[in-house]
């Protein structure tokens, strides 16, 4: 089980969290201007890197806050995201 560092509560078991996927996926500035393909790409396509991955977590069983960490997908080592 992962030990995930909630910025508010401290390190907690993975079971207390809900995964939120890739971080920093910006909502399109003008959604109506997108083609269907571009819209689908925004909705469904995410990076799948081997190595550091910036991702969102929600501490559902604790403080209920969203936060962002960087997880190395090869080692599962998690480091707090300092910027943003």
């Amino acid at each position: 089980m992962l030990l995930i560092p909630c910025p508010w509560c401290g390190p907690r078991d993975e079971a207390e969290f809900h995964y939120g996927g890739q971080a920093h996926v910006a909502y399109p500035a003008d959604p109506a201007a997108l083609t269907d393909e571009e819209w689908a790409r925004y909705l469904f396509f995410r990076d799948n890197p081997m190595g550091p991955f910036s991702e969102r977590w929600n501490h559902t069983s604790g403080c209920r806050r969203w936060f962002t960490v960087t997880r190395d997908t090869t080692t599962n080592a998690i480091t707090p995201e300092t910027s943003r």
Binding site: W8, C9, G10, R12, D13, A15, E16, S61, G62, C63, R64, R65
Partner: protein, 185 residues
């Protein structure tokens, strides 16, 4: 003669006999008023800054109220929250400003199970992943976590006494778990 408006209230653990022996004392503390407090800690008026705990994961006594720090902008007050000198505004259409403190009565959301005695820490550790050692989770600490897979707020009080705040709908399940686990401690 006026009828007691609370005469027919039934607490979530009304049927729970509790646990009472040399090492453990478990019972419900029903019907305490609970108020959710939302505010920006950087913009608190002095009257509020004086009473709210401002260190993460702690609670403090303020008058007749115990106030727990739940999240960056969220507290929970247990007990009757004495009024602060601020003018309540009747204008509900007014936009909530950044200096405002927002109070919501959540008394019916959770009930409180009091677990006390020399076996209390071991009992909780049986179903909780947190480090409950007194050096880490001593009096004045609080945490939101899972106890026996139920979402709870744990509050460490004086002398091996803990309050477990559990949602009303989970209370009987958790009480049954406590009664069962108490056999070991």
């Amino acid at each position: 003669m006026t009828a007691d408006p609370h005469a027919n209230r039934i607490s979530p653990l009304a049927g729970f006999a509790g646990v009472s022996d040399a090492r453990l004392d478990v019972r419900e503390i029903p019907f305490l008023r609970q108020t959710n407090v939302r505010a920006d800690p950087a913009r608190l008026l002095p009257a509020w800054a004086d009473r709210l705990p401002l260190a993460p994961g702690t609670w403090r006594r303020s008058g007749e109220t115990d106030i727990l720090y739940l999240g960056p902008d969220e507290w929970l007050a247990i007990g009757d929250l004495t009024p602060v000198p601020a003018e309540p505004r009747a204008d509900t259409a007014r936009r909530v400003g950044q200096d405002d403190v927002i109070l919501t009565d959540v008394s019916a959301q959770r009930t409180i199970a009091r677990v006390a005695g020399p076996g209390a820490r071991d009992l909780l550790a049986h179903g909780c992943a947190l480090d409950l050692h007194p050096s880490v989770f001593g009096p004045g600490r609080c945490a939101q976590t899972m106890l026996a897979r139920a979402q709870v707020i744990l509050m460490a009080r004086e002398r091996d006494e803990f309050w477990i705040l559990v949602r009303a709908s989970f209370a009987r399940y958790l009480a049954a778990w406590i009664a069962d686990a108490a056999v070991d401690y």
